[in-house]
Point group: C2
Chain length 145, copies 2
């Protein structure tokens, strides 16, 4: 199939397919006499794999790793599983981080009356770090590393 047909079948853009080839995520395809790339239909699966793995938060480098491992019939499966677990751990850490930030922001919003003098707004005071307002201090402290 041509690159355009592959793009339609896999849901991945033409430019992205050529980019993946340059990155080594796709093997260099056969060429027709005209120079057109000619893909075997199984490439659709490979591109879907890449698309889904991206949706799970894997980087292209990690996906290349997964693809290499998945071709390794000896130790591939353990490697895949371990990488998936690493991804999961990173994901959970990121979620916890965002939740911390969310709680800080929520605290500030709750403490803000939404009107009045700007120098009494706990959000501004907390961000500027020049306040004794307990709620604001706590909220921003939660956000600092």
């Amino acid at each position: 199939m041509t690159i355009g047909a592959l793009a339609r079948a896999s849901g991945v853009g033409i430019d992205a397919i050529r980019f993946y080839e340059r990155q080594g995520l796709l093997p260099k395809p056969a060429r027709r006499a005209s120079g057109y790339r000619d893909y075997p239909p199984a490439t659709v699966q490979r591109l879907r794999f890449i698309r889904h793995a991206k949706a799970l938060g894997f980087s292209l480098a990690e996906i290349g790793d997964l693809l290499t491992l998945s071709a390794d019939h000896e130790r591939g499966v353990e490697g895949i599983r371990r990488r998936a677990e690493d991804r999961l751990a990173a994901l959970e850490q990121r979620i916890a981080e965002l939740e911390r930030v969310r709680d800080g922001l929520k605290t500030l919003i709750d403490a803000c009356p939404g009107h009045g003098e700007p120098d009494r707004c706990p959000i501004l005071r907390a961000l500027g770090d020049e306040c004794d307002d307990a709620a604001a201090v706590t909220a921003v402290a939660a956000v600092r590393r």
Copy 2:
């Protein structure tokens, strides 16, 4: 104070300070005869504001917005509060998204025995989208938009 002193006092790098100036987040400071930037001490607060707002997930453009609003004694506070609420909503959406991905990944890992043939690994099968495995299908479906 010089830019180096300001950097130390605020915890923001020298290059970043000059960058913020170019972006209009910091007013152009006075210059000494030598051409050195000479900052009023209050700039430390402003840089801390920027640093904290960044930690809350605001982009530099949004921070510029906040700084403009915070100088507006008429309608500033309502604007600030509304933007904080927007940020909170975006944050919660992002968290929910990541949780969806996390659950999908978790399901896949639980379904994977961690050994055996690669073509029986639910992670690989799900990513390649060529499977009837219910757990894998559900997991990946949860991830797709």
